[in-house]
Each structure stands twice: as structure tokens, then as C-alpha cells.
Amino acid sequence: MKNIRLFILSILTSISLLMSSCIKEDFDTPPINIPTITFDTTNMISIANLKAMYQGTLLKIDTNLIIWGKVVANDESGNYYKTMIIQDNTAGLELKLDKSYLYNTYHLGQRIYIKCQDLYLGEYNKLVQLGYIYNNAIGRLPETLIDKHIFLDSLPGKSIQPKVININTISTSDISRLIKLEKLTFDLPGQDYASSTASTSHTLKDVNGNSIILRTSNYANFIANKTPSESVNITAILSIYNSDYQLTIRDLNDVQIIKSFLNETFNSSAGNWVTYSVASNKNWAWYDAGANMQIAGLGADVASEDWLISPEIDLANSTSPSLSFKSWTRFEDSGITNPMTLKISENYSGSGDPASANWTDLTATFPAQNSNTWLGSGNIDLAPYKNKKVRIAFQYKSSGTSMTTSTQWQIDDVKITDTSK
């Protein structure tokens, strides 16, 4: 009797012990993995030198060469497919990889090392690529081999800054690099970036009339967006197709639209600018020979104070508008250090004495007195005035009426633009 009770008790005890066995569902979160390469890097070679090994025929790399680079473009928007671009200090390189969603692993700014042995260098219409062999030509590196050749090192860092160049200075050494071209316009604004059935080319022109092709895949997620009519700054990977350079943007953030709020060239008149003379009989006037606005206090009845005031400018939907103009001056006013002042007002009515409104001085670059050359003003930040209605004004003053007490000025190309999206 006692034994059997003991037996049952021990069974009960062991069952309850067994029942406490934990069914593990509360899994530890894996620690954050900061990848580092562990292999020997004595056989490093620059991307430029690696690309230089390619001599026009498919090349199998049969030595243990290692390159490093930072990811400058991947497949996130779909404009690249199974492709990413890396860049080191010497050059950029296009990688052909047989894997989708590369961007989840290879973020922009990610530093990677590539063991190049057994990979292939080849070309696609003059574009040198690193990949694998497919039908005796360059092909994609099979997914299963990617992890055996490409290694992450550290977490993604800062993105590489694009190299700012002009279309006419592009050289083959820039191919597969991230570059930036400024003030381009689309030949055909208002078009889809690409048709839904095929990759599409758009021609971009710079201010000097040089043109370059922007090529967009129909798989990009922004194809239904329209090409802008404004001029743009473009960040893109430079590519080549036989003899033609091409640009490939990573996504629409690479197309920086230059939004224009004011673009006064005074080509044929003073436009709707207001001139107001506070003092003297010499006033702001349109100068037909220079197609600009001009003033000079020489020979006036009294010392001058004259205002050139813009029409009202609505900075609605801007984020960081910026003002620029160019100016020219001659003679020297010994009585005044800065005969020309740039001002801005939010409450000038559009006519009458400017003294009736509040004006704030803006800092601009003006040419030195008697310099006799046109000088750009630089970009004057109007961000404090975004989404406001403003007028800007050039206030001219002289201390007298002679060649040494008054200056001559010309103002032209007054622009307000916004280069953010």
C-alpha cells in the first residue's frame, strides 16, 4: 500500500517535472550583425585597374584579386534589375547579379568587398561589367554564388557624393560613376519617363545646347510620372551604349527640378518692375543696348536715391527658394561704401514711396566699385520667405553728382528658383 502510493507520488512528481519542460516560443532576437570581412586583403586592386584588365574579350579572372567599393545604385526603384553599381576612389563598376531585391541587402553607401577570382569581366555594348559567364558572354552571377564572392563590410555609411560635371567634359573614366549634371532641360517635357512596355530614352540638353540621353526601364516604379518642363539638376549613373553616353537615375529623387518663381532678363523693357525716385532727376531706366536696367547719378540735380522694385512674387509651394542676379558697375563714389543695396519687403503695395513699407536688407555679392565687369550675385537664400508673397528691390544711392561721388550700375537676369523637389 505504502509502496504503491510512493510509486504514484513519484510518477506524479516526474510528470509535473516533465510538464514544466518548456516549449520554447519566446525566441531571442538575433543580435545586430555588423558585418566585417575576415579574409586577407593583400591582393586588393582598384576598380580602375580591374576594369583596365578587360581588353575587349570576355575575361575570366583567374587570380585572387579583391576589390572594394561602395554601393552607389541598386535595384530599389526597379530602374535597375538584378544589377548594382559600386564605386571606389578610382572608378565605378556595374555588377550583374542573378538576384532580385538586392537593395534589401546592398543599401546605398554599403561597403562591399568582392573576391573576383572566377568572376568574369565582359562588356555590353562597350559598358564593362563584372559578372559571370552565360552563353560565352557576360552574364549574371548566379544567386547561389553571390555570397561566396560578395561580402558586406560594416553597416551602410554615407552615400558617395556625385561628381558634378558638364556634358561636354564627360570622359570614359566617368562611366559607372555617380555624376551630377546641372541645369538641364528635357527635350520632351510632360511625357512618361518610360512606356510600360519598353525602356525609353529622353534627351536632355544643358544651357549650352549639349545633349545626353536619359534611359529609363519600363520596370521602374516611377515610369508613369511626367518629365518636367522646368530645368533640372540630375544625379545619375553614367553609362554608355556603344558610342552614346547615357544616364540612369536611381529614382525620381535624382531629378532635382529647378522651379522658377522669377526670371527677369529685361530683354525688351523694364517689364512690370516699378521704378521710384526718392531724390534726384536721374532714375532707373531700361537700357536697350545692354537689355538690362541701368542707373547713374552723374550730372543729376541732387544726390540720388532711386529704387528698382520687382513685381509681387508668390513663393507658394517652395521649400528653399533662392535669388540670383548679375550686376555691373563703373566709377567710384567716395562718399558711400555700398551704393547698391538689395532689399526685400512683404508689405510694399506696388506703388508709391517705398518708405511706406518695411524693407529688410539681403546680403548679395556686388562687383567692387569701378570694376567694370559683370558679376553674379551668388545664391541668396530666400528660405525664410517661402510660401510668402514678396517684392525685392535694388536701392541705388549716390553721395553727389560727380564722377567721384556717384556710380553707374546695370542689373540683369534676376531669378528666383527652388531646386528642391
Partner: protein, 902 residues
């Protein structure tokens, strides 16, 4: 009252009987625990007085001496019951009901394969129930329920929606799909053993019935055998261990009966890799007898569970790992196997029952039930990221064309578990890198929830008009609301910075730039989702149901005859909690209410040729409404119902020959059933369109015909032989119309004809047989063995391959047509099972040992389930591009069970 239950062997202790006048009387009734039917000709002994029970199981012994008496109940085939009482002078003592348990009934406690559930990619298939079958005394039914469950044998080829499961008179089948789930009370074997069974079309004591049979589980505590029982099991099947404790008081002196049971079944890993199992169960029932006319009983139980699921895989994956039990659902996370698909459920159920016997002829049972259930299935979801499932077809060697690459991948699969299983570390790292850029999570675990609340009521009247005629009638009502939604359960993120956005990413791809169509909820556009939030879809299904039925039984000398009829009313509607961007006008708020009125009639006759030979015939005609689950084209998205929603019609009949000799019992049955205008829904994830697709077939007509044979022969007093065989011819006999709906709206809903006429019904062997031998030693140990055969099983087919489009552009007689359209016959196979057991008594403790081994020959080549992938390569018509996925029956498994009863 102090009860003791003793075996016959230990009975002969000396009783002290005070010698007083012999004037007292004792009476009671014997019933069979399983069937709840009276036991006639049972022997009741008090001292040297002995009496047999009458045909209603009643005994009465008069002229007893007052004082202590000892009563023994002995009935052929049952455990002996022994009780002690104190009789007063001139007392007439009603000792109530003795619930008799069949000898060796503990064998049935070895849980069969029946509780396995497989996780197919579609939500609704793959569940198998056989609990109804194990409880029958019919040799065919009992065998097919137990040994055939290995191969998911479905009796007569019927799906589980044609089997009704009741508890205390309340229908327990799911209101939305009409399917019964035995796991709702899994682990409560001791207290759910009492069952009334109405196999197939038959006279039923509790409801109209269904063609797949019906069962009423009775949890009335006074009907549960008095016991204190402790059970421990050790096995290598779905779970590893089971511990269970049960207490039942029987009807106590204070007119109260209590039953309690609790258990746990668990495994850190079951037979299949990565499948953990953790199921608890608890049960409490209290009955109060107010007087001889009124009793009230309360039952409350639940069986909360969590378990890691198995998924079918393509043969290529099984071959790569040389393991037919490869499970792609799990991967290592910090050294532990983590399963991405976890099924959990908890369905607390409360039933209040009133038993009313106004007189000997009338019996009324009324029950009121309330259930508040939750059920969830987790799954990985991903946004603009690589498919995380290791067996995605592009990750398999055969997808590659280059032999070198194929060899490398083959080697990776064989050697690297981050390739062949889910790579959790990679998933976490991708999420982490995205968190650094402030982007949304790329991978999450979501849980698709199917919760519900249900109020049900039933009342059953039995009226014994006279000895020959019995009338049974009942009403049932059910008010149900199902809550369907998904929640984000794990962001798979260590930083806490990640989030998810509630848009349909696949609609986003197809409708780039359309801000509204991609919203899952236009009332909360671009909703930012954190862990625990609902997203994706959220809708309720309301379903009200009423049944009125009646049955009359005539019992004559040569004939037993019954007729029954039922009428039902069903009403259901959808109530959307989100305004879906793909159906802005048709998703939010209550939809139109649909209602259906249906009927059924049945009848049968038993012709008693002699007491040894019977001919039994049954027939039924009934209609069933479309289920609320099948009626909506894309219920997660919108309230649109299928065109031409109609009830299905069932006509069924069977004819049986039954032989009952003392040493030989046999039954031969021929049956024919037509199910017409059936509807089937398959909801699955489509890799190509990357969305859930609902594939609904309407106008499905099926014919189920076949033979069932069962025989039991007593070779000697200790050895008996049994044999059962089923031969079925279950086919589709129409060309259904399929409606296909993409949940991301990437294509409009379309419909097409599916050419599957004369295809075999799938998901079950249509031919099965078993031959068994049973040995029972008088010293309470037993041995039995069965050899089983399974054949004529067809793989679940992809209807898309049986459409005009699938064979378009193929010339007449092109051999490819056969390859594409032919259904796939699975291999047949044998299994061998055996078990051995011993019962013994030490002191007042009864100890039972059982050890059973299934599939002793370790046949690991028998495909017991699977499906053709729903994707088809329409362009190249290559059937091997998306090969079928299979499940293999388990190899050798064992089950060891020990129980103590006191």
C-alpha cells in the same frame, strides 16, 4: 456513499451481513458507456441472489436483509462493477445508473493518427476527424476510424462537413463551413467518451443526422463513470508526452455529480522537424438532481493549444534532403528551431442542460450553449523583398539550367540549413538595415485570426407512445458571429523602430500611382501598423440557423421502420469593418442578408429474417444551403456573393446485410450517394500574382458508390480475427463552373468551365482493407496486430489544368493533353500495426499498460496527402515547373500509455 469498483478476481472477500428481516429492495439500471444504451441480460448479484436485467436494462432485487450489502454487476464483455450499500429496514433503494465500460476500452485511449492536422497552403482543407468512428461497436466503423486514419481515409469519401458532431444536443460543427473539429476538446478523452452515435443515414436519438453520420457527446457528469484516474503517455507522434487527470464522483448522496478533467499534451518537437506541440485541456461539469423529474447540468471546457505546423513540399526537396518528412516551415534562430506557421486555438465552451422526465413515456432534454472562440494561424509576410520560403521554386536546383550551378545549389541544400530552411538571421538583418533608413519592415509575422462567438439552443423530446412506437422531435437554434482579421504578431525587429503600412503591395505594383485602390482600409489610408494592430482585412460573418425535425420509429417483430423529416432556415450576412480600396462601395458595413430554407427526409427499414440475419435499407433526400464561407467571392475584400447561389441536393441510399452469430459478426453494405450542385472553395497564395486567390467551383456533382465489408470471427475464446474492406467509386460527374477572384484586384473576377467529369474524388484512399488478429489472455493482457492496405487515392488536382486554356494550341491527340489533364493516382501501400497491453490491480489501484507501434515496417513511401500546385505554366505547358506537393504518412511510431485508476 462510498464507492468502490472492484474486478471480479478480487470479489470474494467475506461480507458481514447483519441478520435482520428480509424486507428491503434495491433497484437500478445498467447502460453502456459508449452507446448510452441499456444493457439487457446483465447479471446483478447480491450474496447468493442473482437477477438479470430486462430489455430496458433495469434490475430490481427484493427481500433483502437490511444492513451492509455488497452488489456485483457482471455483464458479458464489460468490466465488473462492485458496490457496497447500507440498507435500512423496508427501504426501497434506487441506486441509479451503472455506467458499464467495455473491457479493454482503454485500448481506444491510444490516440490514433486522427488528430493530426496538416497545414496546406489553403486555409480550410486538411483537417481530418475520426473521433466519431472510434466509438462505434461496428467492426467496420471502428477499424476504419482507427487504423485507416493513418492514410486519411474518409468513409464513403465524404468530407467532414457531412458529419455532424453534437455535444449535449448542441451542434458543434463550425457555423461557417459546417465542418466538425474534434480537437476542440482534445485531451479530454475520459469525459467525452460517452457518445450516442448515428452512423450514416439511420434512426437517430438526438438529431436528424447527416450522410457521414452523427455523434452526440454526452458530458452529463452522472453518466460518467466514477473514477480517479491518472494517465501518462509517451510517444513520438504529434506530441511526445501526455499527462491527464480525471475525477468523476458519479451521482452522490446529496444528488450532485461532479466531473473534472485536465490534461496537457506536449512536445518540443514532434515526429516532423520543427513542429512543437503544446495543448492543455480543462473540463468541469456539475449536475444537480432536483427530483426524479428534473436535473440540471453545467459543463465548461476548453482545450487551448499552440502548435508548429508542417507543410507539404515538392518531391525534389524531399529527395535533396533524403527525408520525406522535410518541413520547410522552420529555421534556426539563435540555435533553436523556430516555426513560422503556428496554429493556436482556444474555444471555451459552456453548456447548461436541463433533463426533464415528466413521466415514463416522455423525456425532454434542453440545452443552452455559449462559446467564445479564437483561432489563429501565423505566417510570414513580406513587402518588396525576396520570398523567405526556402522551397520557393526558384531556389531549387531544378529551376537552374546550368549543371554546375545546379550542383552547387544541390550541395548547399544538402549541407546548409540556412538554405534548406528559413534563414531567420537574414530576415532580421534585412529588417535592421531598413530600419536604419527609416523604412518599413520588409518581413513580418502576421496572424490570420478566425474568432467567433456563438449562442446555441436545442430542445429534444422523446415520446414513447407504446412499446412499438417512439416519436422523437427537436428544435435547434444557433446565433453565430465570426470575426476574421489579421494582426501583426512579430515585427522581426530588435530596434523597435520598424513599422508596416497597411496597403496591398501587390495592388501597389499593379496600380502604381493610384492612391486609393491600394488601401486596405480607405477609412485609415496608409495606416501605420505596429505589433498587435489589425490590418489587411477585418470583417464579421453573422450566421443564424434554425432546425425543426422529427422522427418516428416502429419496432415490430419482423420489421423495424423509421421515418424522419427536417426543415432548416439559414440566414447569413457579412459585416465589413474596413473599406477596401479594391471594393470601396462593397466592403464596409453590413451586406445584404441571404437566407435559405432547406429540407430533408429519411427513412429506413430493418427486416429481421431471423435473429441471426438482418437486411437493412436506408434512404435520404435532403438539401443543404451554401455555407457562408463559400458564398462570398472574396470575403476578405468585399461582400460580393457568387452568382446563382443555390442549395446543394443530396440523395443517398444504402442496403446492408448483417449477420450476428455468437462467434461471428459481419456486415456487408452497398451504398450510392449523389451530391449535386455542391460548391467548393480553394483559397491559396498565388506565387505569380503574389496575392491570395479564391477559386470557387459551383455546380460540382459527385457520385459516391461502393461496398463496405466488416467481419469479426472468434477463433477460440481468446483469439479473434477481424477483416474489413472498403471499395469505393467516388467521382465527379459534372463539369463545374469556376469563379476566380484575385484579392489584389489585379484581374477582374473571371469564370470558366472545369473539365473534371469522371475524375475521382481526392483526399482519401477509395480502397482500403485491414486484417487483424486479437489475442486476449484471461490474465488481463492482450495483443493485437493489423495489416492494412490503402489504394486508389488520387492527388488533389488543380482545376486550372483542366480548362480550355490549359490545353489551348495543342493539336488533337497531342500526348501533352493527357499529361496536363490526367488526374494523378498515388501509389498504394501497406502498413502493419500492433499493440500489447496489460491490466493489473495492486491493492485498490488499477494499472493499465499499453504499448502500440504503428507502421512497424517503417514504410516511409506512402503519400497520404498533397495537392497539385495551383499555379500552371500556361506558356510552356510544363507540368513539372510547379510540381505537386506531398505529405508522406509517418514511418514507424510508438505510443506508450500507462494509467492508474483508484
Amino acid at each position: 456513499m462510498r464507492y468502490k469498483i472492484l474486478y471480479l478476481l478480487f470479489l470474494f472477500s467475506i461480507l458481514s451481513i447483519n441478520l435482520f428481516s428480509q424486507t428491503s429492495t434495491i433497484r437500478g439500471v445498467l447502460i453502456d458507456q459508449e452507446s448510452q444504451r441499456p444493457i439487457k441480460e446483465g447479471i446483478v448479484k447480491i450474496g447468493d441472489q442473482e437477477i438479470k436485467t430486462d430489455k430496458k436494462g433495469v434490475f430490481e432485487i427484493s427481500n433483502l436483509k437490511s444492513g451492509d450489502i455488497k452488489l456485483e454487476v457482471i455483464a458479458d464483455g464489460y468490466d465488473v462493477i462492485s458496490e457496497e450499500y447500507v440498507l435500512s429496514e423496508n427501504e426501497t433503494k434506487d441506486v441509479g445508473t451503472f455506467v458499464m465500460q467495455l473491457k479493454n476500452s482503454e485500448i481506444s485511449e491510444l490516440e490514433g493518427i486522427s488528430e493530426i492536422e496538416l497545414d496546406a497552403d489553403d486555409d480550410y482543407s486538411g483537417q481530418y476527424i475520426s473521433g466519431i468512428l472510434q466509438s462505434s461497436s461496428d467492426i467496420f466503423i471502428a477499424t476504419s476510424g482507427f487504423v485507416f486514419s493513418y492514410a486519411y481515409f474518409k468513409m464513403r469519401g465524404y468530407d467532414s462537413e457531412y458529419t455532424d458532431v453534437y455535444m449535449n444536443g448542441l451542434l458543434m460543427n463550425d457555423a461557417e463551413d459546417e465542418r466538425a473539429s474534434w480537437s476542440d476538446w482534445g485531451g479530454l478523452n475520459d469525459v467525452t467518451r460517452n457518445k450516442e452515435v448515428a452512423p450514416g443515414i439511420s434512426s437517430s436519438g438526438f438529431s436528424f443526422g447527416n450522410i457521414g453520420g452523427s455523434t452526440n457527446i454526452i458530458t452529463r457528469p452522472s453518466m460518467i463513470r466514477k473514477q480517479n484516474k491518472l494517465t501518462y503517455s509517451y510517444t513520438n507522434r504529434s506530441y511526445r508526452q501526455r499527462a491527464m487527470y480525471t475525477y468523476a464522483s458519479g451521482m452522490m448522496k446529496n444528488n450532485t455529480a461532479i466531473a473534472f478533467s485536465a490534461s496537457r499534451r506536449w512536445a518540443e518537437e514532434g515526429y516532423i522537424a520543427g513542429t512543437f506541440y503544446d495543448q492543455w485541456a480543462y473540463f468541469l461539469a456539475v449536475e444537480r438532481k432536483f427530483n426524479n423529474k428534473h436535473s440540471l447540468a453545467f459543463t465548461g471546457f476548453s482545450s487551448p493549444s499552440r502548435r508548429g505546423m508542417q507543410a507539404g513540399a515538392v518531391q525534389e526537396a524531399y529527395d535533396l534532403l533524403d527525408n520525406n518528412y522535410y518541413n520547410p516551415n522552420w529555421g534556426f534562430q539563435e540555435g533553436e528551431k523556430r516555426n513560422s506557421k503556428v496554429k493556436s486555438q482556444d474555444k471555451p465552451t459552456f453548456i447548461l442542460s436541463h433533463y426533464f422526465t415528466p413521466n415514463r413515456k416522455i423525456n425532454i432534454t434542453t440545452s443552452l450553449g455559449f462559446m467564445i472562440g479564437s483561432e489563429g494561424r501565423t505566417s510570414l509576410n513580406w513587402y518588396d523583398a525576396a520570398d523567405p520560403r526556402p522551397d520557393y521554386y526558384r531556389y531549387l536546383p531544378n529551376y537552374q539550367t546550368d549543371q554546375t550551378i545546379r550542383d552547387i545549389i544541390t550541395n548547399d541544400w544538402k549541407t546548409n540549413p540556412t538554405i534548406s530552411q528559413i534563414n531567420w538571421d537574414e530576415i532580421y538583418q534585412v529588417n535592421y538595415l531598413n530600419s536604419l533608413e527609416g523604412k518599413q519592415a520588409k518581413y513580418i509575422i502576421e496572424e490570420r485570426r478566425d474568432d467567433n462567438k456563438q449562442l446555441s439552443f436545442s430542445s429534444l423530446l422523446k415520446y414513447y407512445l407504446n412499446d412499438d412506437i417512439k416519436i422523437t422531435t427537436g428544435i435547434e437554434f444557433r446565433k453565430y458571429t465570426g470575426y476574421h482579421y489579421k494582426t501583426l504578431t512579430d515585427m522581426l525587429d530588435g530596434t523597435g523602430n520598424l513599422f508596416w503600412v497597411d496597403i496591398d503591395q501587390f495592388a501597389e505594383r499593379d496600380f502604381a500611382g493610384n492612391d486609393s485602390i491600394i488601401q486596405n482600409d480607405l477609412n485609415n489610408p496608409y495606416k501605420v501598423i505596429k505589433e498587435g494592430d489589425r490590418f489587411g482585412y477585418d470583417y464579421n460573418i453573422n450566421n443564424n440557423y434554425g432546425l425543426l425535425w422529427g422522427q418516428i420509429d416502429f419496432n415490430f417483430d419482423k420489421f423495424d421502420i423509421y421515418f424522419g423529416a427536417k426543415g432548416t432556415y439559414t440566414q447569413f450576412w457579412r459585416d465589413g469593418n474596413m473599406k477596401n480600396g479594391r471594393a470601396p462601395e462593397n466592403s464596409y458595413g453590413e451586406s445584404e442578408k441571404l437566407s435559405f430554407t432547406n429540407y430533408g427526409i429519411k427513412g429506413g427499414v430493418t427486416y429481421k429474417i431471423t435473429g441471426r440475419h438482418y437486411i437493412v435499407g436506408n434512404a435520404t433526400l435532403m438539401t443543404n444551403p451554401p455555407t457562408s464561407r463559400n458564398s462570398y467571392i472574396s470575403p476578405r475584400i468585399k461582400a460580393t456573393v457568387l452568382p446563382n447561389l443555390e442549395s446543394e441536393t443530396i440523395t443517398a441510399g444504402d442496403i446492408n446485410y448483417v449477420a450476428r452469430f455468437p462467434g461471428f459478426k459481419a456486415r456487408i453494405t452497398a451504398y450510392q450517394t449523389y451530391i449535386s450542385n455542391q460548391m467548393t472553395v480553394n483559397s491559396f497564395y498565388h506565387d505569380e500574382f503574389r496575392t491570395y486567390v479564391n477559386y470557387i467551383m459551383q455546380g460540382v456533382d459527385k457520385s459516391h458508390q461502393g461496398l463496405e465489408i466488416g467481419a469479426d470471427y472468434k477463433l477460440t475464446s481468446t483469439i479473434s480475427l477481424n477483416a474489413v474492406a472498403a471499395y469505393g467509386d467516388h467521382r465527379y460527374i459534372s463539369r463545374p463552373n469556376a469563379t476566380i477572384s484575385f484579392e489584389n484586384g489585379s484581374a477582374p473576377d473571371t469564370s470558366k468551365t472545369v473539365y473534371i467529369k469522371n475524375f475521382y474524388v481526392t483526399g482519401t484512399p477509395q480502397t482500403a482493407g485491414s486484417f487483424g488478429i486479437k489475442y486476449f489472455h484471461p490474465k488481463y493482457w492482450f495483443f493485437n496486430a493489423n495489416i492494412n492496405y490503402f489504394g486508389k487515392s488520387y492527388l488533389n488536382f488543380n482545376p486550372e489544368r483542366r480548362t480550355e486554356r490549359a490545353i489551348a494550341n495543342l493539336g488533337e491527340g497531342d500526348s501533352l493533353i493527357t499529361v496536363i489533364t490526367e488526374p494523378m493516382l498515388l501509389n498504394d501501400g501497406f502498413t502493419l500495426d500492433a499493440s500489447i497491453g496489460k491490466s493489473l490491480k495492486i491493492d485498490k489501484y488499477y494499472i493499465n499498460f499499453n504499448f502500440s507501434v504503428s507502421n512497424i515496417l517503417n514504410n516511409t513511401e506512402l503519400i497520404t496527402g498533397g495537392f497539385e500546385q495551383m499555379r500552371f505554366d500556361f506558356v510552356n505547358k510544363n507540368v513539372d515547373k510547379f510540381p505537386p506537393k506531398y505529405y508522406y504518412g509517418r514511418g514507424r511510431t510508438f505510443y506508450f500509455n500507462v494509467s492508474f485508476r483508484f
